[in-house]
């Protein structure tokens, strides 16, 4: 699952900017391109509808799947209505509800990650942000149905990971995935948010670095200049990645999938992993 080698090597922060680019396709475009007859489903059944997480059921190449992902919105109006893709606990609970539903009806789950993080607000904290994220992590880890996650843009912090525990984790070539933004990293560790480019280089947040580190399973190639330059072409690569993952996971019983995923995550990012022995 190696990415095609490209001649032009972008700097890590250039990829951060590509990943955040407003012209980059968002979940709505992925859904309309890759999933037929999509039915959006709403609400966490407890408190409210959180539009920063979009989810529903559709056909992928003729088979029903559940699709869930962050929704940042295209313009300011949409940004505001979906809170810039930053979920509160209700968004995470909605996603968990849809995942359990997918498990019940033997549908694979496809998640699309694109968020600058969980929403840091008073209401989110008051309504159990931590627990909502934690329960998602736990339950995704033992879902008895295939789970494929794709980081399409910005995969940042627990807000991204809460939709990202999967049998196969893909990243688009210019997507980034990190514990926090390079700006936040620089400001916390160096007290200087201005050193964001340097932080991005240091953090190992690009797709190919994370593939090397064994933290993601594959890189999806993008057209020159990013998927925003030729969305149709880029989407075909995403389609191939989903197809390949589902073919690999098909036929594995649910219990076995859950057991393997649990094993994967019990040993992910481990100090005893190859290449990670203490220097």
């Amino acid at each position: 699952m190696k990415a095609q080698t490209q001649k032009n090597e972008l700097k890590a922060y250039e990829r951060v900017l590509l990943a955040r680019d407003k012209e980059r396709p968002n979940i709505v475009q992925y859904i309309s391109c890759l999933f037929d007859s999509f039915l959006e489903l709403s609400g966490d059944r407890i408190a409210k509808e959180d539009a920063s997480v979009l989810g529903g059921i559709g056909f992928f190449e003729g088979r029903p799947v559940t699709v869930i992902g962050h929704h940042k919105g295209k313009d300011l109006e949409e940004n505001l209505s979906c809170n810039f893709g930053m979920p509160g606990p209700e968004g995470f609970r909605k996603s968990l509800r849809l995942m359990k539903q997918a498990e019940k009806f033997h549908r694979p789950v496809i998640t699309l990650l694109d968020t600058s993080g969980a929403y840091p607000g008073m209401e989110a904290e008051s309504n159990g942000q931590s627990t909502a994220i934690a329960e998602n992590l736990l339950e995704m880890g033992r879902l008895k149905t295939p789970v494929v996650a794709i980081v399409t843009g910005e995969g940042c912090s627990g807000g991204a990971l809460a939709l990202g525990v999967a049998d196969k984790v893909w990243m688009l070539e210019n997507a980034v995935y990190s514990v926090l933004s390079p700006e936040g990293f620089a400001s916390i560790l160096w007290k200087d948010a201005g050193r964001k480019e340097e932080a991005a280089e240091r953090m190992r947040m690009t797709a190919r670095e994370l593939l090397e580190d064994g933290l993601v399973d594959g890189v999806i190639p993008e057209p020159e200049g990013g998927i925003q330059k030729d969305p149709q072409k880029g989407m075909e690569e995403v389609r191939k990645a989903i197809r390949q993952s589902l073919e690999e996971l098909d036929g594995i019983p649910g219990e076995e999938l859950a057991r393997r995923r649990q094993e994967k995550y019990l040993h992910i990012a481990s100090c005893s992993a190859p290449g990670q022995e203490e220097a």
């Binding site: 989110a124 627990t131 240091r202 933290l215």
Partner: protein
């Protein structure tokens, strides 16, 4: 994590100017022979001798502030005397993203604390009831979670499953260990997976939130307990107060994200003062006696 650091720095300078002579940072460990040495309360700034702090379980005799304590002290005041038997003391993290200065910093922290990393744990008993107990020690990198914490957490949970023991975790953490990049974030999924496995084994998982428990630890294993207790005044939350303040652009209400707030918002079961903690834990364990009939920690 940053605001926590700032807060600690500020308090440190506050009471350093308050008692300029030789007042020690409040979370420092007591050393033999200096029981008379004076330490100021971080909250009310009143000064007491180390002996008095110790006798009062490191809770301020004047205002009730619960001082952060090391894992060793926590085990000492929670478990039956002499019952603690440390497990996996040597799990050390590496330097997965080769972050400049990180190995030196962890080296120094290991030297200073005698710990291999911030998670400390092992076997012990509470009123003779066997448990597997673990503490995130905030004296080591503010209890932050990197690969060593994640790996050791898995080992401890598997030990609890194997020995059929209840799992007791005292949480205290500034969040993810940022110097480990995405490796640190993945520990959230790892520790949650471990608790998933523990749940399937039918074991009892008790969490005690202590001050502060934020970020990646709060949003993973710490918030997955069957029963969640908290010390008074503990800051508990995913996003730190400074980040929230910046986002919403207004001051936060008094007590926001503290234990009382979390109790009122349905996030924890009970607030328990340090002096009562062992008793409450013992009660919880006895109430689950049916689950653990015949369990013995002895090998």
């Amino acid at each position: 994590m940053a605001e926590l650091f700032e807060e600690r720095k500020k308090t440190f300078f506050n009471f350093r100017s308050f008692r300029r002579e030789k007042a020690k940072k409040a979370e420092g460990l007591p050393k033999p022979g200096d029981e008379k040495e004076e330490v100021a309360c971080k909250a009310c700034h009143k000064v007491f001798g180390r002996g008095e702090w110790k006798e009062n379980l490191y809770v301020c005799p004047s205002c009730g502030f619960h001082m952060p304590i090391s894992g060793k002290i926590r085990m000492g005041i929670t478990l039956d005397e002499g019952s603690f038997q440390e497990l996996y003391p040597d799990v050390k993290g590496g330097d997965p993203i080769h972050f400049p200065g990180y190995p030196e910093k962890t080296g120094k922290a290991r030297e200073k604390t005698g710990l291999s990393d911030s998670l400390y744990g092992g076997l012990g008993t509470i009123d003779s009831f066997p448990v597997l107990a673990a503490v995130l020690d905030s004296t080591f990198f503010m209890g932050s979670m990197g690969e060593a914490v994640g790996d050791k957490f898995v080992l401890l949970v598997e030990e609890a499953i194997k020995r059929h023991l209840p799992l007791l975790v005292f949480a205290s953490s500034g969040g993810a260990r940022m110097q480990e990049g995405l490796f640190s974030l993945m520990q959230m999924a790892k520790t949650a997976a471990a608790i998933g496995k523990f749940r399937e084994s039918g074991g009892l998982y008790l969490v005690v939130f202590t001050n502060p428990t934020t970020g990646g630890v709060s949003a993973s294993f710490a918030s997955l307990g069957d029963i969640a207790l908290a010390e008074p005044g503990a800051l508990i939350g995913f996003a730190g107060p400074r980040v929230i303040r910046q986002t919403i652009g207004e001051e936060l209400p008094e007590g926001f994200q503290r234990s009382q707030f979390q109790l009122e918002h349905g996030q924890i079961d009970k607030i328990v003062e340090r002096k009562d903690m062992k008793g409450v834990l013992s009660q919880v364990l006895r109430l689950h006696g049916n689950v653990y009939e015949g369990t013995d920690t002895k090998e």
